[in-house]
């Protein structure tokens, strides 16, 4: 049974920021939605409410950064880059401000539909010079993302999970590294964010079916250790499958494809994720099933890659997560 951690960001941010006067907590009126309401109440001197005005929040943070502060911006991921993109470039990315962009509700973790689902943010951030990109896949990574982000001399884009988050890992994010979760020899699976849990669900069933999986989890998407990835690709027989909570263009799948092409690797690559598609509104498990982001989609991808036919059903997939969160009882709030 996997431990579920309630609101890990709320505790972790407060523990990290409280008492450090150079760190400021900025909110664009999604304070409780980003789990910083407790911090606001207990540390009002470090909390700055900017209202629903993201363009101003972005440049304002640039101004704070010029004066030596390290602002942590909190809002939903979509609102952190789609509207204030020009400000993000000119106030933060170009001048390398130490601004930490804490984007909540990555990909299909919100039922809010197109307007609320950040599905192309990694593609955008990867193309911005000076930007670092982190993504959380479990409670331990949520708990350690503040320290990891704040160690960077420049802006950092963070995909943060909120609410009830499974604990999959024992060790904190080590910037620039990747987690090796399984060291098999048939297929390399590369995942990030919530898709890592899906891959972990699939692994036992795949092992039973005789497929030896090598599994990498990426919490640091930029900068990226291409040499380490190439070593892992060299250790598997068939090729690579990527699975991400993002469009397959510009995200982890593209990152792996570019790395393989740059090195002249002739192995096959199957990229799973949103396929040139916006997502509609719906529960997270429903959306992950519908758009092929879940464990079953990974099994199908591996079957395609290896040419094997698996008789694996949903029932065979290990529950790497308790049912509470998957149930529709608690619809994710907007």
């Amino acid at each position: 049974m996997v431990e579920m951690v309630s609101r890990p960001y709320a505790r972790a941010f407060e523990a990290f920021a409280a008492g450090n006067p150079d760190i400021l907590c900025l909110s664009a009126d999604l304070t409780s939605s980003c789990e910083i309401d407790g911090f606001r109440d207990r540390h009002p001197d470090q909390f700055v409410s900017l209202g629903m005005a993201e363009q101003n929040m972005m440049s304002f943070a640039g101004g704070l950064g010029l004066a030596g502060f390290r602002p942590f911006l909190h809002t939903f991921g979509v609102f952190m880059y789609r509207r204030p993109y020009d400000q993000l470039i000119a106030s933060i990315a170009y001048p390398r401000r130490k601004v930490r962009l804490m984007g909540f509700l990555p990909g299909v973790t919100t039922p809010g539909g197109m307007t609320h689902q950040a599905i192309e943010d990694i593609a955008v951030m990867r193309s911005i010079p000076n930007m670092t990109i982190l993504e959380t896949g479990d409670a331990t990574e949520v708990e350690s993302i503040c320290a990891a982000a704040d160690s960077v001399d420049g802006p950092v884009w963070c995909r943060v999970l909120r609410g009830s988050v499974p604990r999959l890992f024992d060790t904190p994010i080590r910037l620039g590294e990747m987690r090796v979760l399984a060291a098999g020899t048939d297929v390399l699976v590369v995942t990030s964010g919530i898709c890592t849990e899906e891959a972990m669900r699939a692994r036992a069933a795949l092992a039973k079916a005789g497929v030896s999986i090598r599994h990498l989890h990426l919490h640091t998407i930029k900068p990226f250790d291409a040499a380490a990835l190439l070593d892992h690709i060299g250790s598997v027989k068939h090729g690579v499958v990527t699975l991400e909570n993002h469009v397959t263009e510009g995200g982890v799948g593209s990152l792996v494809a570019e790395t393989m092409a740059d090195a002249g690797i002739g192995k096959r690559l199957i990229r799973l994720g949103l396929k040139d598609s916006f997502a509609h509104g719906g529960s997270r498990p429903y959306l992950m099933r519908y758009y092929g982001l879940d464990a079953l989609a990974l099994v199908r991808g591996i079957a395609d890659l290896t040419g094997a036919a698996f008789d694996i059903t949903e029932e065979d997939l290990a529950a790497a997560r308790v049912d509470e969160v998957h149930s529709l009882v608690k619809a994710e709030a907007l």
Partner: protein, 273 residues
Amino acid sequence: MTPAELRRIANRIRRRDVQAVFEAGAGHIGGEMSVIDLLTCLYFHELSVDPADPLDPERDRLILSKGHTALALYIVLSEKGFIPKQEISTFLGHRSRLNGHPNRVYVPGVETNTGPLGHGLPVGVGMAKAAKLDRRSWRTFVITGDGEMQEGSNWEAIMTAAQFRLDNLTLIIDHNRLQQGASLADTNELAPFAPKLAAFGWHVEEIDGHDPAGICRAVSRATGTPDKPKCIVAHTNKGHGISFMSDNVAWHHKVPNVEQYEQAMAELAEAAE
């Protein structure tokens, strides 16, 4: 510095500006003529800045949000000693650090990169808030164009500055009534600015933006209201000081030909006497 001395400096800067635009074959001459008196009075009378220590933490900050008039800022900075005067001749040249929009990384005295309109004021609000948080006495000044106030980000910043009671922040609107392609009135009329800023909770001054005495009075610490950010609506003329450019929308970024150049320089020289 006396108003007469400030006028002399501004006239010298105008002539250098016209010459640089003529030689470079590009520039935003109209908006530069309208903002030069404001920049001159700030840099030579009010701002606490030191060319020998351009990043002194206690310095006053000025952001020229209408970054397309960078040339005027470069010349003021050169007159002040931040960059060599002879470097102005490199404006827009290959490998020159004097680009069409000011760059903080390369040009000492430039506080932040500007160019995308509606960008400077929100940054300035963040700077002013930082000074308040640090309990420092340095001040932040932002100059915007009047057409630039059509950018919604400015109004987000205006709300925020009032909410945070940033009386260490001064916004100067270079109100020359013309934007790139037409007058404000024919585009998206925002005037009158004063009652709008007052309604948002700002202290507002209206001045002749070409009168050094009035500019110096309005930008001084003595003028203002505690706990309120200050907005100075500076009534200016685009192309000011050159008869055929003044108040003429065609001169947003037009380059004078030889005859026009000689006439402009002659008019400015005559005004200097």
